[in-house]
Symmetry: C2
Subunit: 211 residues, 2 copies
């Protein structure tokens, strides 16, 4: 073989180049990942187990898909790599989480990735609790936020669920139902309006009934 | 004719009884209503015009469908008669609108009418801005709330849009995405958590950015 970059060898060789990749191997990994993540959830699924199911070396899984989180995102066909958004959330001080999340999320929805996210939301709404994208959202994205705010006395599950409900509502009202003037509200105004809501859900007093 | 309750006469007679009604006439009225409401909106559509389109007496429209609002609800196949909910909102003091709306709306979603509302929401999410139910929601329900809070300096359109986004989010997270523990949270806790959010959107300070 004169072309050292060709991926015609067995994937176990570890010599597989980025081009042209091996489409069948990638699909086998994604199939195995979908099955494992759906059955055991994100935390209890290992790259090693997925690699074994797909009959490849774990290093090849990392090579093709990056981290376990990125593999999960690819397996559920999440329309963006959420790493940048999640890193921004990790870097924010706890008392600025609300505004940070609203700004990061609305910025992505308003970007060229927006239509893909709206399509995912629609499929999540028709798939309900069975949607693979929902599993990724709950097990990766919400967990990441929850771990920032959980305390010994409060696992913060209700807090992140309320925050998720608010963000889903803003997405739906802005991009799907197109309720004006929210649909065309500048991001700064959305952050000013909705940021304090998220901050209260995440770190404020949510147990006191109003009159 | 020995049966005075029979609706076999012309609808213009005004003598049509409730039973058995005239299914064709009702459908003609609903068709005319859908067309008028979709073309001109709720405010600019009159029962008189719909009656003329359907070739019936306006009194018959009222007899079959009640108020213009109830006719609109029937025309878009809104799953409930929202009169009771809207009356509760009208009766609440402005400073209790948030908690009142959350309690009234979540109570209806948790009632036997809930699955019908979820079905309507799903069809609204796939129909987007063209959904007839969306038109009813925006032109009747949100307008009713808006008129409670509008001031000479603030038409309150952004306020009701933000409140709608929050309620759509709670519905979606609770009933469609089934995000726990929100999905099974008792109504009192939902009111305590989300009521203050709605109150702020409707009557509080929503223009000040957080740090």
């Amino acid at each position: 073989m004169s072309d050292g970059e060709s991926g015609s060898g067995t994937p176990r060789s570890g010599r597989t180049g980025r081009r042209p990749g091996n489409a069948d191997t990638k699909l086998a990994i994604l199939d195995a990942a979908r099955e494992r993540f759906a059955g055991a959830g994100f935390d209890k699924t290992s790259i090693r187990a997925i690699a074994a199911d797909a009959d490849v070396d774990p290093a090849l899984v990392h090579h093709y898909f990056g981290t376990k989180q990125q593999l999960f995102a690819a397996a559920v066909e999440f329309p963006i790599d959420p790493a940048a958004t999640l890193d921004a959330i990790d870097a924010a001080p706890v008392e600025e989480l609300g505004a940070t999340i609203v700004r990061a999320v609305v910025t992505v929805w308003d970007s060229p990735a927006g239509p893909g996210i709206v399509a995912m939301a629609r499929s999540m709404f028709s798939g309900g609790a069975e949607s693979p994208a929902r599993a990724f959202l709950l097990q990766v994205v919400l967990e990441r936020v929850r771990l920032r705010i959980a305390t010994p006395g409060d696992d913060a599950r209700a807090r992140v669920a309320l925050a998720a409900a608010q963000m889903v509502g803003v997405l739906t009202a802005r991009k799907i139902m197109v309720i004006e003037p929210l649909a065309s509200m500048p991001i700064d105004e959305v952050v000013a309006a909705v940021g304090p809501t998220l901050q209260r859900y995440l770190t404020g007093d949510i147990d006191t009934a109003t009159p």
